[in-house]
């Protein structure tokens, strides 16, 4: 008899014991779907993203003739459109997952959703500071009646824009190099993992392992 068969015999003994042990214990529960929370969050993000895209579209139409305002608005609008597309993509994928499906298939869909989530999050973190610093500041100052090209001035804007670009590879490198030291807090560890791409890599490896399981 193989060890696996021996294990099966022991398991069947346990099964017989459970037969007698299990009994009803009435209690009231409120039901929630596991993916419902994620779907709610994504729906909210999509609604906010859609409103922002519409608002930026209106702003673009009204300021099309002013290049100083047009370029930051285009950059911001493009970022928001990509954010919205990513969010809707995740929402559609999450809604398609049906837990009554075959286990390997459902787990692969969940893993793909996780990869997509981490990939989008990393992209948002890396490009977010580029978009939400100088372009956003120019538009914000315009909204309160200040011309950003005069105060704080073109030099300030150019230097900070350059720094925003440089900080992208720098933050990836420092998260990979000193991620452990930087991550004293839970948030710090999470941020370092996202920037360095560790969470994404782990999710991709898990998806690959599932795929290997499914296909032998």
């Amino acid at each position: 008899m193989t060890k696996l068969e021996e294990m099966q015999q022991a398991w069947q003994q346990l099964d017989r014991k459970l037969e007698h042990a299990v009994r009803s214990n009435e209690q009231l529960l409120r039901v929630h779907s596991p993916l419902r929370r994620l779907a709610w969050r994504l729906s909210l993000e999509a609604a906010v993203g859609a409103a922002a895209v519409l608002w930026m579209g209106d702003f673009l139409a009204r300021h099309a003739a002013r290049p100083g305002l047009l370029w930051p608005a285009v950059v911001l609008d493009l970022w928001l459109i990509l954010f919205l597309a990513n969010t809707i993509g995740q929402l559609v994928a999450a809604r398609r997952i049906d837990f009554t499906g075959a286990v390997a298939d459902v787990q692969l869909q969940l893993a793909a959703l996780r990869v997509r989530k981490f990939s989008a999050l990393r992209w948002e973190l890396l490009t977010g500071q580029l978009v939400w610093w100088i372009p956003f500041t120019i538009l914000l100052l315009h909204a309160v009646g200040v011309n950003a090209y005069r105060v704080p001035g073109t030099t300030f804007l150019a230097v900070n824009l350059g720094l925003s670009v440089a900080i992208i590879p720098l933050s990836v490198w420092s998260a990979k190099r000193w991620g452990d030291r930087l991550s004293h807090t839970r948030f710090g560890r999470w941020l370092a993992d996202q920037l360095a791409g560790h969470s994404l890599t782990e999710a991709q490896q898990y998806a690959a392992a599932l795929s290997a399981f499914e296909h032998g």
Binding site: T2, K3, L4, E6, M7, Q8, A10, W11, Q12, Q13, L14, D15, K17, L18, E19, H20, A21, V22, R23, S24, N25, E26, Q27, L28, L29, R30, V31, H32, S33, P34, R37, D98, F99, T100, G101, A102, V103, A104, D105, V106, Q107, L110, R114, Y206, A209, L210, F213, E214, H215, G216
Partner: protein, 170 residues
């Protein structure tokens, strides 16, 4: 909206297969509290999907699928918050039965299961539960040949582990 008849039908089915709920929760969660949470999560997911159960597959196959999908996601911490509040709106039977005391060998079986990755764990659990290769294949969504190959590899892996640890029990 669930009808009382549907709810009664669901409770009857769950009652018949409550052991599955217990074994899967025990295999995919470490602490008693987590096992309770997982069992409830599974039950909730089963209940939500039950209206769409069309009877084309056996109830047990369907239940294994939902329960294992939920358990694997739970084990990977895809659900991070407890979401249960007692209400009078949605009545379900409590998830986990009273836990019978375990022998050393039973604990060893669960320990061995918990050391495996989530999908091989599901495969072994289905095998130990006495399912045929075709049934295991239906639940997991892989071919029966693939099931046989993977079980054969598991035999190799577990041969020494189980024997050594069983000796240590004595």
């Amino acid at each position: 909206m669930a009808t009382p008849a549907l709810q009664a039908q669901f409770e009857q089915q769950i009652e018949q297969h409550r052991k599955v709920l217990y074994k899967i929760s025990r295999s995919y969660a470490q602490t008693r509290e987590d096992q309770e949470d997982l069992a409830q999560e599974i039950l909730v997911q089963l209940w939500r999907s039950f209206a769409r159960f069309d009877g084309r597959s056996l109830f047990l196959t369907w239940m294994y699928r939902v329960a294992l999908n939920t358990a694997i996601s739970f084990a990977r911490r895809e659900f991070t918050q407890k979401r249960y509040v007692v209400t009078v709106e949605d009545r379900l039977l409590a998830a986990l039965p009273d836990r019978p005391p375990e022998t050393g060998e039973e604990t060893l079986l669960y320990d061995i299961l918990q050391q495996l990755d989530p999908l091989p764990r599901a495969l072994l659990l289905l095998y130990l539960d006495g399912n045929r290769y075709q049934e295991i294949a239906d639940v997991l969504g892989i071919s029966p040949t693939n099931v046989a190959t993977k079980l054969s590899r598991l035999k190799e892996t577990l041969r020494d582990t189980y024997a050594k640890r069983k000796v240590n029990l004595k």
